[in-house]
């Protein structure tokens, strides 16, 4: 049960600013995810927390204790590496027992705890195998067991699922979540997979070019992105140019969108004016019923793709081309004319 606080952390590699004045508060017991495109500094942030990198600026606190200059082996963190980093010359048992050996537990105690943790991750009976004799998923579990067995203050996971196949990834995702809930251990998780981030996390930080752009609960980030980058990065978005012409309510504005050839009502969570971008999620576009008059447009179907659980439809709305998800039972074909409706709370206007 440890709170982690990063204060203005900056890490520079030569000309690259890998982490740029990052401040984060991670609650104890929280499942916190850092997501961002490749090379944005996620791993580096994690490595600063683990103590493998020391920041040029800023501080790292565990429960108000400044650990910035503590060596990795003086912090009680446990990391699961993307490549698992299992020691190939040791058996599964030896790998898992290593941390306990360092902590000078008795042999009996070590055996008991290793057995326990291997059961927890579902690896009973594989104690005497070598890592190279295990499948990717099994190796991943060994790495997790090795990290968990020492009962760390903080669990650090660097894209632990990225080397697994799609099915395995879904399974492990659930297991990981359950395990974390059960142990209630502060966890920092790094990924560039939005589904993982959205489904696992209590809170998410979106990172780009070394900077944290937004921190929030998964649904907050999804429905109320603070920047265009966040909107684009999490989920799919239709993005159109517009200009604010009137503020209707504290969170409602009227935006003129030239491409649609119309004025629309959109939600906003900041003070905005002038030129803006509007963001519409594909599932926010509905076929219009008869009782709405606001935000209703004529559209023509340009293309239909059957995705299984839904249809992905490319629509031409005025001068704009937009993607919409429709129920898979709908019969649509190229050239069909439809009326669409976008509820104001599904349109977010962002300052450019």
């Amino acid at each position: 049960m440890t709170r982690i606080r990063l204060e203005n952390v900056t890490k520079v590699f030569g000309p690259v600013v890998a982490v740029d004045h990052v401040s984060l508060d991670i609650e104890s017991g929280e499942f916190f995810t850092i997501i961002g495109p490749s090379g944005c500094g996620k791993s580096t942030t994690l490595r600063v927390i683990a103590g493998f990198e020391v920041p040029e600026e800023g501080h790292v606190y565990f429960d108000d204790v400044d650990v910035t200059f503590k060596k990795p082996y003086e912090r009680n963190t446990a990391m699961v590496f993307q490549n698992y980093a299992l020691w190939p010359h040791m058996t599964v048992f030896e790998n898992v027992a290593y941390g306990l050996r360092l902590r000078k537990f008795s042999e009996d105690e070590i055996r008991r705890r290793v057995k326990e943790v291997l059961e927890m991750v579902g690896l009973e009976g594989l104690e005497n195998r070598y890592p190279l004799q295990l499948s990717g998923g099994q190796q991943q579990r060994v790495a997790l067991a090795r990290a968990l067995v020492v009962e760390p203050q903080v669990l650090l996971l660097d894209e632990p699922l990225s080397n697994l196949d799609a099915k395995m990834r879904v399974e492990m995702r659930e297991e990981l979540k359950n395990l974390q809930r059960r142990l209630n251990i502060t966890t920092v998780y790094v990924t560039h997979d939005q589904i993982e981030a959205l489904s696992l996390s209590d809170r998410i930080a979106v990172m780009n070019k070394g900077k944290i752009l937004q921190v929030g609960k998964p649904d907050e980030l999804y429905f109320r992105p603070a920047t265009l980058f966040v909107a684009d990065f999490l989920g799919r978005s239709n993005i159109l140019d517009g200009e604010v012409i009137e503020v209707l309510e504290p969170h409602k504005v009227l935006v003129r969108v030239p491409d649609l050839g119309a004025d629309i009502v959109a939600s906003t969570y900041n003070m905005i004016r002038g030129r803006v971008k509007i963001v519409v999620r594909p599932e926010g576009i509905q076929t219009a019923g008869f009782d709405v008059i606001e935000n209703v447009f004529d559209a023509e179907v340009e293309n239909v793709m059957f995705l299984g659980d839904k249809l992905e439809v490319r629509l031409r709305v005025g001068g704009a081309s937009m993607i919409a998800y429709m129920p898979n039972t709908m019969r649509l074909a190229k050239g069909d004319k439809v009326k669409i409706h976008i509820p104001p709370d599904r349109i977010v206007a962002l300052q450019v």
């Binding site: 740029d20 020391v54 920041p55 200059f69 990795p72 980093a85 020691w87 020492v150």
Partner: protein, 760 residues
């Protein structure tokens, strides 16, 4: 037009920029030099000019200098591609040489051809200087452009955080050992080189080395012909080939350049055929081709002397065809012996290079229409070049420092022999002239080495010596090719392994010691067994084995410290320094090491038992020998440890430290167990290199014969000229062959590692 400085020359050239190449600069530099030289020869025919004439400003010389220096500047601003200076091996070699040569000639006011050459090189010097200046300027601007500026104190703090107790110990201990035992001896050589005879200027020794007729003589005496026909009283006609003589310095250069060139061509050819073609018997030929790599000092060259002697197989043929014998002596003999011994080094490196070329790259090129020699020249060769270049430079250095062939062929007009001779005959003085010579030799070797390092390092091909990761493309050989392989390549390869065979036959008394006459009649194990039975001989075997074992243990320990600090230390400056210190012994000729250690122990331990001059009964040669072996052969061990550490992902260590292991526990508990096979193979390779070491063994060992190793005995046989010993020396050669065979088997079969360990 703006200067063109990008490294991507070919693309830019196509972009329509008129590109004056470096060869233009050189061409004009050459013309300037020739004009100058002719003018010089007319005005002052071969007599040393009064000093006053050089001191004054003006005169044709300075104009020539000016032209030569201005040309590169001129062409630079017309848009020449000076990046070539940096990116091509031979150019960077020449320009590094010119950095040393030009100021030296200028400083020493040496007239004549050396000066004309200096003028020629000066254009290169200016070119590379301009290039570096421009590079520096651009880097400087780029670094200023980066937004964030971390204060120096914070950078230091961050850097220091990377260090912990163990790393500090590794780095300081490693650096100290290398500085004390590597740099100090070299500096002592330099000090002695600049100790002139009384009353002469400080550079007198160097001036002598660069100008005296003994060292540099441009014109041949009428009596010195490269070959002559000799008729004995009995009417036998013999063609004696001796080779040229242009003075010690030039002889060495000529010999090494020829050896390197021929060995490279031969090695690349053999490698290409073996890497790219399929034919029956290829496996056997591949094995036979590495036989010359078995090092058997002295006896090997002696065997070459017999093979090319009046009673050798060549003479047998020429006598029947043309009616005269052939005998190879002096420089010609040295050259041939070295080519035969060293070409497999290039072959192995080139072979790995060719295998390392990703076949899809070639297929891509073929797809675009490249075929045959064009494909080879434009795709295959450039990709394999770093490996080949690495092999060549090793051959260059080996040839420069080799003592075996010169001693056996009694060619005293070579740098290595001259240093050795001065060492043995003038022992007791401080040998300033030998020191100057050693320093020149060191400079040549180090320059070549640095050039190759900057060249290979700059290319990001990074495919060197990692052959065999993919299935290489092999084509079937046509009938003409098959004939060429079986009637040209195979005999060639068999011929180059003949010296080793002859040594074995001599050791078993299957051929007499003074002629090549194989017969099974006298075959006996007597000589080989006497190595162990005869106490007078066994002492040498015992010395070699104990020294080699001890030195290898030290070398492994130092290598671990150096390699680990370099690959994990993460403080750039420190790592690079340590890396350079650890690899540079590769480029230091053995005689330089020997001379350096002589000064080192003579000066710092004067009067103790470690002083080489303390007398043949008190001097403890073993200490000096083991130290020298350790440092000199460490790079080979180091290379293996590096390779091992490269296999260990840094995450593996971080995982341990993350779980609470200190650096010490991580290194000893995780890293070393993981690279144990590399440590063993490094040690084995080190053992081979130490047990066949010549230079220090015969110089330092010669000061205390009863503590000397095998190679000293082998040398003594040929210096002393007693025939009886030749078979015993050959038996030692056989023993060394067996040791090397066992080592290779251990590495390849036991540890399943590549055996292409000779080379950079």
């Amino acid at each position: 037009m703006k200067p063109r400085l990008t490294s991507n020359s070919s693309q830019d050239a196509e972009a329509g920029v008129r590109s004056y190449s470096l060869s233009h600069a050189l061409f004009f530099g050459l013309i300037a030099a020739v004009i100058y030289y002719i003018a010089y020869e007319i005005t002052a025919p071969n007599t040393p000019l009064p000093r006053a004439r050089y001191g004054s400003i003006g005169g044709p010389e300075y104009i020539a200098w000016l032209i030569a220096l201005l040309f590169p500047v001129l062409i630079f601003y017309k848009g020449a591609d000076y990046s070539k200076v940096k990116f091509s091996f031979s150019w960077s070699f020449l320009s590094i040489i010119s950095y040393i040569y030009v100021p030296m000639i200028l400083l020493l006011r040496i007239p004549g051809l050396p000066r004309a050459v200096a003028i020629l090189l000066s254009s290169l010097l200016a070119a590379s200087f301009l290039y570096s200046a421009d590079e520096f300027w651009r880097n400087f601007k780029a670094s200023r452009a980066v937004g964030i500026k971390t204060p120096f104190s914070k950078r230091v703090r961050t850097a220091l955080f990377r260090l912990d107790a163990l790393l500090i110990v590794f780095i300081t201990l490693g650096t100290t050992i290398l500085v004390v035992f590597l740099l100090v001896p070299v500096v002592l050589i330099l000090l002695n080189a600049f100790t002139p005879p009384v009353g002469e200027p400080f550079y007198a020794n160097f001036k002598r080395v660069f100008t005296a007729r003994k060292y540099v003589s441009l014109f041949r005496f009428a009596t010195e012909k490269p070959w002559t026909f000799v008729t004995s009283e009995t009417g036998y006609k013999t063609l004696v080939i001796t080779g040229v003589n242009h003075g010690i310095l030039l002889n060495s250069l000529i010999n090494s350049v020829i050896v390197t060139t021929v060995a490279t061509l031969l090695g690349v050819l053999v490698a290409f055929v073996l890497a790219r073609y399929r034919f029956p018997g290829k496996g056997v030929i591949r094995l036979l081709a590495v036989v010359p790599l078995f090092v058997t000092p002295f006896v090997n060259s002696y065997a070459v002397r017999l093979l090319f002697g009046a009673q050798g197989p060549i003479s047998w043929v020429t006598e029947r065809l043309f009616g005269f014998d052939v005998e190879i002596r002096a420089l010609a003999g040295v050259t041939i012996a070295q080519i035969m011994a060293f070409y497999p080094i290039v072959y192995l490196n080139a072979y790995a290079g060719f295998l390392g070329v990703d076949p899809t790259l070639e297929e891509q090129a073929e797809n675009l229409g490249a075929k045959g020699f064009r494909l080879f020249r434009t795709v295959t060769l450039p990709l394999a070049l770093p490996g080949i270049a690495a092999g060549s430079i090793i051959v260059f250095i080996f040839s420069l420092e080799d003592l075996g062939a010169p001693i056996v062929f009694q060619e005293q007009r070579l740098m290595s022999y001259k240093i050795y001779q001065t060492f043995t005959t003038e022992i007791g003085t401080t040998l300033p002239e030998a020191a100057a010579l050693a320093f020149v030799m060191l400079a040549l070797a180090v320059v070549g080495f640095l050039a190759i390092k900057s060249y290979v390092g700059l290319r990001s091909y990074a495919m060197v010596a990692k052959g065999g990761r993919w299935k290489s493309r092999e084509r079937k050989l046509g009938p003409v090719g098959l004939i060429l392989v079986y009637f040209l390549l195979l005999p060639l390869i068999i011929w180059t392994m003949m010296p080793q065979l002859t040594v074995i036959m001599m050791a078993l008394n299957m051929t007499p010691a003074n002629a090549f006459k194989p017969s099974l009649e006298g075959a006996t194990l007597k000589y080989f067994l006497s190595l162990f039975k005869n106490p007078d001989v066994f002492i040498y075997v015992k010395n070699t084995v104990t020294y080699a074992l001890t030195a290898v243990v030290f070398a492994v320990v130092i290598s671990i410290m150096v390699a680990y600090s370099v690959s994990r230390g993460r403080i750039r400056v420190l790592s690079q320094t340590l890396d350079a210190l650890g690899t540079i012994p590769l480029a230091i000729p053995g005689l330089v090491v020997a001379l350096g250690y002589f000064y080192f122990f003579h000066r710092l331990f004067t009067g103790t038992a470690l002083d080489p001059l303390s007398g043949p009964t008190t001097f403890q040669a073993w200490v000096v020998l083991i130290t020298a072996y350790t440092i000199r052969k460490m790079p080979f061990v180091l290379r293996s440890v590096y390779a091992g550490l490269q296999q260990v992902h840094e995450n593996l260590e971080e995982a341990a430290m993350n779980l609470g292991a200190t650096r010490r526990r991580t290194v000893f508990g995780i890293v070393l167990p993981l690279i144990i096979t590399y440590l063993v193979s490094g040690a084995v390779v080190g053992f081979i290199y130490v047990s066949t070491e010549v230079s220090t063994s015969i110089t330092i060992g010669g000061l205390r014969p009863d503590q000397a190793p095998m190679t000293f005995y082998m040398m003594d046989v040929f210096q002393g000229g007693h025939l009886e010993g030749i078979q015993i020396a050959a038996a030692m050669g056989l023993l060394l062959i067996l040791i090397q065979l066992a080592a290779i088997l251990l590495i390849v079969v036991g540890l399943k590692q590549s055996y292409a360990f000779i080379g950079a």
